[in-house]
Amino acid sequence: MSDAIIAPRGLADQLTTLFWRHPRLLLALLITPPLLWLGVVYLGSLAALLLQSFYSIDEFSGLIVPEFTLKTYGELLRPSNADVILRTLAMAIAVTLASAVLAFPIAYFAARYAKGRWKAAFYLGIMLPLWSSYLVKVYAWKLILAKEGILTWAAQATHTDWLLNAALSLPGVGGNSLSTSFIGTFLTFTYAWLPFMILPMQAALERVPTSMLEASADLGATARQTFRTVVLPLAMPGIVAGSIFTFSLTLGDYIIPQIIGTSASFIGMAVYQLQGTAGNIPLAAAFAVVPIAIMLIYLALAKRAGAFDAL
């Protein structure tokens, strides 16, 4: 044997040789388990859900009739159910817009100016709230927003309670106190999902080179023009990614509106009640399909508006 070839020293060398000769083999080995998980467990249950939504319930016996029908979807259009959908949709839009507006300056600062220790502090500040229990945070907000809570106290102490009372007396979104109004639900949602908006936005802004902003100014653009024509379009994929989180999380959540807000139902609460106490699995499934449909429509609109052009 010549010195040009080193003899394999064991199984590791032989396996490495095998993978080198058949590069796709390693890829297949690595990707099969997660694909099975995704295919069977995730897509499978989604298909089951979709199937259930085309069944109906026998109103007398309460039993599920396993026959294809669109009757259950028709029930979604009943005023009481349509209200739930529209209310949830309005909340999701409001939460997404507010998150985007709040997140942008934070993400911009983090991407452009924060370096070293400041950047670490930024990540910690954004991630820290995600580490504590979701329920603890929601109950904390219940206390903050309560009539005897710190916000009311602070408003009285600074003589701005007229502002609070004005907000609470708004028709539709107001209420007896912040913790029992849609404003409270909105505030808690916005707090809870804000990190999910900031992080993708910051990642998108980080990829915009400084020279591009300089080029814009160099060619005569004002700061406002640079923002509108360069920064915003380039950050758009990140903003859309973030809004997918805030939008879909709001559409599906059933805990926040149950703890904070009026007793009015949201899609998540409806699903929870229908499949639990009411035992109406088909209608619960039909309700669960609504956020999926809304997200698909939203993404199609975003694509048509050119949100992904900078990808």
Partner: protein
């Protein structure tokens, strides 16, 4: 002649680092001016001081006799071709070129017509609909050039614009930039670390070292009469000779420079040493002769017999070629 750009004792310090240190500089209108220097020598900072992306720590910058201390970049009639081109990836080539006109509020039809005119100036007539990602490096470079020229700036700044191109393309672009500058008559300020690029393109150049201008002059002047050891060494890789050696070669006891192409092999001559390095250059050989611990490079044109490594070699030169430097 009016000066396009004037620096009066301009400094730009970043903390303790003196990126630009008390620089005085006058760039005449309509010239092709090169700023040459190694990385970190302050040349790019000088360019950014002209465009307004850096503010001087002290001193005054004038553009066409106007003090621009309080003028932000977007109000300076100066445009830049960026090193990484900085084309907007979400816009097509036409919109990129028309950008400067768009932000001024020019109507779409008018600005597109002007953009097409600029694109044809850089020989990219039919590329308007493409995205920057679909172009080659050389084409992106031309788009960046067209975009910077669309506003008809009075000074065009170019920050190492040819650095990312391969040799062939770079040489073609050098000729093109030069002829473009002649045709438009705009003042070009060109930053480069490539001395041959600066020498071949510039009407006038400044050699930067450690935030200061080591020498300013015409290419021939700087090449033939370097003022300092740094300039002699950096421009044209000259042999820099210490005072003792200069004296033994018939000069005064001062530092001097001797160009490799001024040395020829001969039966008799003042320099005799051992060949230590031989580098084939295509058009000839570059040979390094070591004598008394000093390396001296000579350029042997094609046809000259190639010496062997380790063999003795005697070199001679025209005494007029020995350039004595006043400063070290």
């Amino acid at each position: 002649m009016t000066s396009a750009v004037e620096f009066r004792a301009v400094s730009r310090h970043f903390g303790a680092t003196r990126a630009v240190d008390a620089v005085d500089l006058t760039i005449a209108e309509g010239t092709f001016f090169a700023m040459l220097g190694p990385s970190g020598s302050g040349k790019t900072t000088c360019l950014r001081l002209i465009s307004g992306f850096e503010k001087p720590t002290s001193g005054q910058i004038r553009i066409f006799a106007e003090d621009v201390s309080a003028v932000p970049p977007h109000l300076r009639n100066v445009n830049t071709v960026f090193q990484d081109y900085a084309l907007f990836p979400h816009m097509n080539v036409r919109d990129n070129v028309a950008y400067g006109l768009m932000v001024k509020g020019m109507a779409r039809a008018a600005r597109y017509a002007k953009a097409e005119e600029m694109l044809s100036l850089v020989h990219l007539d039919s590329y308007g609909d493409r995205k920057p990602a679909q172009l080659s490096g050389g084409q992106r470079q031309r788009v960046a050039l067209a975009r910077a020229l669309v506003n008809e700036p009075r000074v065009l700044l170019l920050d190492e614009p040819l650095g990312a191109l391969d040799l062939k393309l770079r040489e073609a672009m050098q000729d093109e930039l030069k002829s473009l500058q002649k045709r438009l008559g705009i003042t070009f300020v060109f930053v480069t670390h490539d001395q041959s690029e600066a020498l071949s393109m510039a009407d006038s150049l400044a050699v930067f070292n450690n935030g200061r201008i080591a020498q300013i002059g015409t290419p021939t002047d700087i090449y033939a009469h370097p003022k300092t050891r740094f300039v002699a060494d950096f421009v044209g890789s000259s042999n820099v000779l210490p005072p003792a050696l200069t004296q033994s070669l018939g000069g005064p006891a001062k530092w001097s420079s001797l160009r490799p192409e001024a040395l020829h092999p001969a039966p008799f001559g003042p320099i005799t040493g051992t060949v230590t390095v031989l580098r084939y250059l295509g058009a000839g050989n570059r040979v390094t002769v070591t004598t008394q611990g000093q390396d001296i490079a000579a350029l042997l044109p094609m046809g000259t017999p190639t010496p062997d490594i380790g063999a003795p070699l005697t070199l001679t030169f025209d005494p007029a070629a020995l350039h004595v430097m006043d400063e070290t």
